[in-house]
Symmetry: C2
Subunit: 228 residues, 2 copies
């Protein structure tokens, strides 16, 4: 029984890592489609969504089986309910990658304003946050989890900068409006992906430390994240 439980737990972790890997790749492909003005990578993201969704359902069912199988101890209980929530966060990130892909296909019909630099940078930050958040969860590494939470501020400020810059473009040249608005929305999608990674980071800290830093992360950040 014990062994069966451990095996199921291992399978659950593998599924979560596989799902996170898919989401990471989807973000990369979606932004590549946008940057290189090619539809293929974006279409690939839309194609892969099914697999992400399938994993979401499988993770949910695996967690329910583990909970039903036996009354898990406090630590395992929290691990399994965190895994459920992380599955939901990953699924939403997958949706956001699809949103970016759809927007890329739309924007590929409109001329570029200038080569994209900051959005791919932001995408890379978000991808790394997803990977690190999952690794923090699997390894119960609260320091890495805190680091993920801190990086959310950098993503937010990069997004604000992109937003302001695009507003300026539009005001100077109304011909750029459609593309600029599209890019503003892509920025929001990426910001939201980083938010989901941060949610996972907060869950991990709760898991390891047994106390929530959600909702007062800012006061925590001042001591944890320093000036970053």
């Amino acid at each position: 029984m014990e062994r069966y439980f451990d095996e199921e737990l291992t399978k659950l972790k593998q599924k979560l890592l596989r799902m996170a890997g898919l989401v990471e790749e989807s973000i990369e492909l979606a932004v590549a489609g946008l940057k290189e003005q090619k539809d293929e990578p974006a279409l690939e993201v839309i194609n892969r969504e099914k697999e992400v969704n399938q994993l979401d359902v499988e993770i949910d069912e695996a967690c329910l089986r583990l909970l039903a199988l036996r009354q898990p101890m406090a630590g395992d209980l929290r691990f399994i309910t965190s895994a459920m929530k992380i599955g939901v966060d990953l699924e939403r990130m997958g949706d956001l990658a699809v949103n970016i892909a759809e927007r890329a296909i739309e924007l590929n019909k409109v001329p570029l304003i200038k080569p994209l630099i900051d959005i791919p940078r932001m995408a890379k930050m978000a991808q790394t946050m997803v990977r690190d958040a999952l690794n923090a969860f699997i390894n119960r590494d609260d320091l890495l989890a805190r680091d993920v939470c801190c990086r959310d501020d950098e993503v937010d400020s990069l997004n604000d900068q992109i937003f302001r810059e695009l507003l300026t473009y539009m005001m100077q040249d109304p011909a750029t409006i459609q593309r600029a608005v599209g890019l503003i929305l892509v920025g929001r999608h990426l910001e939201r992906i980083a938010d989901h990674a941060t949610n996972i980071g907060e869950d991990v800290i709760y898991l390891v430390k047994g106390k929530t830093i959600k909702h007062n992360i800012d006061s925590q950040r001042s001591s944890v994240c320093g000036d970053t």
Copy 2:
């Protein structure tokens, strides 16, 4: 023990309803701040966020207690894990209401393009979806839950309409850009609130019917939602 379990379950339901009520009011206040160009209602939303967040933590802890207390049967188990997820959805909706409130305060400094009609309409739809989704959960009413999921399409199409209209305004008169972009983002926030309500609706259908309609809702919709 049984009685204690039932009492805890009742308290959990009350907390969820209270949280949903707060979120509903926050959406209303945030959009009122925007529509009437007054900061007070928007500031009230930001003030109330603490209470929403506190309820989120309490709901999470109540669910963990219920899971730890005894090995719940299949139906109760699914109910409690759904409650956990619903708490997360409500918390995110609360955040989105705060995002709208913050944007309202910012936009109150910029002149109106024209009186707001569609955004308050969309807000009202989102509010009703939140209320109905929660009632569907508490009463295990899968028909009401399906209805909530179907209404998501109406919100999406209203949002698309608002988006296109605002793009046109900007192209005709670049002086409206800042306000129009702000309103586009408010539209997205409301659309996302409706998405969260839909997530709850999907969870309820799973809870009642024992099968997921997530990820293939479109094929379900064709038979369930008809032409709406």
